[in-house]
């Protein structure tokens, strides 16, 4: 484990601190990769979401290691984790917590707030699209404000706080697609791909034996918070910010410089929150790469997971089988 003292809020940042931070993150990623086989990209994107203080929507078929990833991350970093299995009958109070009537020793009854599973550093919202919109929206405040309000009382969530929601793209019957407003609150949307033959073989061998591979704790909560703070200090030059703005603008079909396919298939482009997400995720990506500044390639690297769920495609795109990823690639081609 790295020396967390060097990353306390009062520590002045120098080359050594940056290198230590990068080394810590690399260690965490290595631990994740050791347990979650063949999902390096997913691990990296989830890590970026965590470092950026955002939430990550993970989309993939069942059995690809989504839950394992969250559990492993909680093991590698000294943070609390909780899991909420979203079902149609799940109520908001089941997430946020509720007030229960408590009777003290003197027999007097009082209402006491009992925290729900949202009160954790890392919350896994499994199959979030199976819950009703009402329940889904119970997450909105937590995701955006890092707080919940129950019975008129606001309860602040402990930092670091990160929601990692999963959804299954194939079993859509009886599901409630996430509204755009809620989608926009996810910093990234990671898509879990199917592993290769070699990875699949390794998964089979490593998970069916007696000995189970678990991650070592390599980072503390304070260290994570310090690194999250450091991420926001990563330098963004004006020309990089301009590129981020240009990328965001070019997702809008009404923008003059938008690619032709964007104009044809996109109904609504990314919101200004996308621009913020681009820079934030870019900073995290730069730090993961050991840089103290954001380069254009950082934006390019994280543009797809940042933008793919923020572009609302039209019916023509569905008919023609056009994916958001391919449209983001078109957008990126205009700035490179």
């Amino acid at each position: 484990m790295n020396d967390i003292a060097v990353l306390s809020p009062t520590t002045s940042i120098d080359e050594e601190v940056l290198q230590n931070a990068t080394a810590s993150l690399t260690t965490v990623l290595a631990e994740l990769g050791r347990v979650v086989l063949g999902q390096e990209t997913l691990c990296r994107e989830v890590m970026i979401g965590l470092l950026g203080g955002g939430n990550v929507l993970v989309e993939g078929q069942p059995g690809l290691g989504k839950t394992l990833l969250v559990r492993t991350l909680a093991d590698a970093v000294e943070i609390t984790a909780s899991r909420i299995q979203f079902t149609p009958d799940l109520m908001p109070a089941d997430i946020t917590g509720t007030q229960v009537l408590m009777r003290d020793d003197s027999g007097r009854s009082t209402l006491e707030f009992r925290k729900g599973p949202i009160f954790a550093n890392l919350v896994l919202a499994d199959e979030i699209n199976r819950a009703t919109p009402k329940t889904q929206s119970a997450l909105l405040e937590a995701m955006q404000e890092h707080s919940v309000t129950v019975a008129g009382a606001r309860h602040v969530l402990e930092e670091p706080f990160c929601v990692i929601a999963t959804q299954n793209p194939i079993e859509t019957e009886g599901t409630y697609p996430l509204p755009e407003a809620q989608l926009d609150r996810f910093l990234l949307k990671a898509v879990v791909g199917f592993p290769t033959m070699e990875v699949l073989r390794s998964i089979g061998l490593s998970t069916t034996g007696v000995a189970q591979t678990t991650a070592r704790r390599v980072m503390t909560k304070d260290e994570l918070i310090a690194i999250q703070r450091l991420v926001r200090q990563i330098v963004v030059a004006p020309h990089v910010a301009e590129v981020a703005a240009q990328i965001t603008m070019n997702t809008h079909p009404e923008h003059g410089e938008a690619p032709a396919r964007v104009k044809k298939f996109v109904r609504f482009g990314a919101s200004p929150r996308a621009m913020q997400a681009l820079l934030l995720a870019g900073r995290a990506n730069a730090l993961l790469a050991g840089r103290a500044h954001v380069g254009t390639e950082d934006l390019v690297a994280i543009a797809t997971p940042v933008l793919r769920h923020r572009m609302i495609l039209g019916f023509d795109a569905t008919l023609d089988g056009v994916t958001a990823d391919s449209l983001v690639a078109d957008v990126l081609a205009t700035v490179q």
Binding site: Q233, V235, A237, H239, A292, H293
Partner: protein, 575 residues
């Protein structure tokens, strides 16, 4: 500012190298443009040269600018290029942005600057791309084509003739020869100052023609020399009474002495006649004229170096002339007249003034030179004739026709309007009889050129010269009527105008003369003349004839006759 300063230095160095590369690449284009400009200048196409120069300059500028557009750097763009080359993820560009922001960098920014400063020395060696001098293959091809044009003159048409030497070596030698002849003539102490000045100017014109770079310039200089010699000729040896009247007293005395020295009885007779006329009208009774005559005789004589009298026949004639001058001075006009009459009889008939002969020779040579120069300029090509050339050719054709010559061998052009205008100057008439044998019928019975045949009703009796107003030389066939009657589109119009050309006429034609000329002459011959229209035409023709009659090709003995012809053409209203 370490990073920014380094980038500035590298950017400047890179820009210099890229500029040199761009120029090197454009060099063939520059050379091709320059060659085209020189080509145009050699052909006196100044406007074309300027246009080609401007276009070439603009094209090269555009090429260079386009070439430099992607490679011309300032620190940020150079930082971008270096970041891209060294895969440093915008490190240098970010550092430049931090440095140029002008604010104190924070902790993380200092780390970025430190990293950039550490990077600069590592990449310094290969930071500026090396100089690669390459030329444009397309430009080389253009240069090759231009060089081919330059050395072979392809596509230049008429202008392809080399213009560096307007006259050939041979022509220049001939011009020098003529100039020397004129120089020798001018050194003759019997020449008047006016003639000497004209000869000197003609000599200068010849020198100018010899050094001219353009054919047109050389031809203009030769024309000027010819004009000056034409003016000088009658002053040396005036023949007609009109010419003699125009001479000053001194010139008259000089020419009389010259004719006496040469033994030209005809001229002595005419000049003496004019001299006596002037002496008769002089208020002092001819004393001044007598003195002038005496002085002129003394100047023209070659005295014996031992103090004796010149015993040669020429000396004797000049002695008689001096005696006649003495008589005039003393008021004894009868004695003077008698002496001069004796002088006329004593001289040989037809002897020509050697000065006039020399001048005539020079004029002939000059005429040949002009003709050769004009031919060289035209290059013998079958290009379409200009309006002026058609005009001249038609005039020549008319002259040929008027003299009874068969159509020429040249490429008959018959170019349009040349016929009408040309025949005006051609105006040949077949004078059937020679002077002295009775005048033939005058025109009026036939048709003018262009309309059919010229009159030719007279008959040649004694084989005299068959005469045409503008025709040079003599007709070979005696006794026949002069066949004229040029058709409008003469097949013989392609002959090169040589000694008689319209532009040599020194008198400006009256405005509008050529228009309706045939009609006016025809009406006049039919008795329906209008004095004003015909007067204008006659004046124009008289001016042409006057100019032409001074030429050597017109026999001296026929000039008076021609003069009378035009006087006969005068209408009653003419002054």
């Amino acid at each position: 500012m370490t990073v920014t300063l380094s980038l500035k230095r590298w950017a400047r160095r890179s820009n210099r190298r890229r500029f040199i590369e761009a120029i090197a690449r454009a060099l063939p284009w520059i050379a091709a443009g320059a060659a085209l400009v020189v080509l145009a200048l050699q052909r006196d196409h100044l406007v074309a040269a300027v246009c080609v120069g401007v276009v070439a300059l603009a094209a090269v500028s555009v090429l260079v600018a386009r070439r430099l557009r992607g490679t011309w750097h300032r620190p940020p763009s150079f930082a971008k290029a270096l970041d891209h080359r060294h895969r440093t993820a915008d490190l240098l560009r970010t550092a430049v942005a931090i440095e140029q922001r002008g604010e104190i960098p924070d902790e993380v920014e200092r780390v970025v600057l430190k990293r950039a400063e550490d990077l600069v020395p590592k990449i310094a060696d290969g930071a500026v791309p090396p100089l690669r001098l390459r030329t444009s293959p397309l430009g080389l091809a253009a240069l090759a084509v231009t060089a081919l044009m330059f050395f072979t003159g392809i596509g230049a048409g008429e202008a392809a003739k080399p213009q560096t030497d307007a006259l050939t070596e041979k022509a220049r030698a001939k011009a020098d020869e003529i100039a020397k002849a004129l120089d020798a003539l001018a050194s003759d102490k019997t020449m008047s100052a006016d003639v000497k000045e004209k000869l000197s100017k003609a000599k200068d014109a010849l020198r100018k023609a010899a050094t001219a770079k353009a054919g047109t310039e050389a031809l203009a200089a030769l024309s000027e020399a010819s004009r000056l010699l034409d003016e000088a000729a009658p002053q040396i040896a005036a023949n007609s009474s009109d010419e003699m009247k125009k001479l000053s007293d001194q010139q008259l005395a000089d020419q009389l002495a010259s004719a006496a020295a040469a033994g030209d009885s005809t001229r002595v007779s005419k000049l003496a006649h004019e001299m006596m006329n002037r002496a008769g009208g002089a208020q002092d009774g001819g004393a001044a004229l007598g003195q002038m005559l005496k002085d002129a005789a003394a100047k023209a004589s070659h005295p014996d170096p031992w103090g004796g009298q010149d015993a040669s026949p020429s000396g004797e004639r000049l002695s008689k002339l001096a005696a006649a001058g003495d008589s005039m001075k003393q008021g004894d006009m009868e004695s003077a007249k008698s002496t001069l009459a004796g002088l006329s009889k004593g001289a040989r008939a037809g002897t020509v003034d050697p000065r006039a002969a020399k001048l005539a020779e020079a004029r002939r040579s000059l005429s040949d030179l002009r003709s050769a120069t004009r031919t060289a300029m035209n290059g013998g090509s079958s290009r379409p004739m200009t309006a002026q050339e058609a005009h001249d050719a038609a005039a020549q054709a008319a002259r040929d026709a008027a003299s009874g010559k068969s159509p020429g061998k040249g490429d008959g052009s018959g170019n349009g309007s040349g016929a009408g205008k040309g025949m005006g100057k051609g105006m040949g008439m077949g004078m059937g009889k020679m002077p002295g044998d009775g005048a033939g019928k005058m025109p009026g019975t036939g048709q003018m050129p262009g309309m059919g045949q010229m009159p030719g009703t007279g008959q040649q009796v004694d084989g005299g010269n068959h005469l045409s107003v503008l025709q040079q030389g003599e007709a070979k066939d005696h006794g026949s009527s002069g066949t004229s009657g040029m058709k409008g589109n003469s097949p013989s119009g392609a002959q090169e105008p040589e000694t008689v050309m319209a532009e040599e006429v020194k008198t400006d034609p009256p405005p509008g003369t050529p228009d309706g000329i045939v009609r006016a002459i025809k009406e006049h011959s039919a008795g329906e003349h209008t004095a004003t229209a015909f007067g204008a035409i006659r004046d124009h023709y008289a001016a042409v004839a006057e100019a032409v009659m001074h030429r050597d090709e017109i026999p001296l003995t026929r000039r008076d006759f021609i003069q009378r012809y035009f006087e006969a053409l005068r209408t009653r209203e003419d002054p």
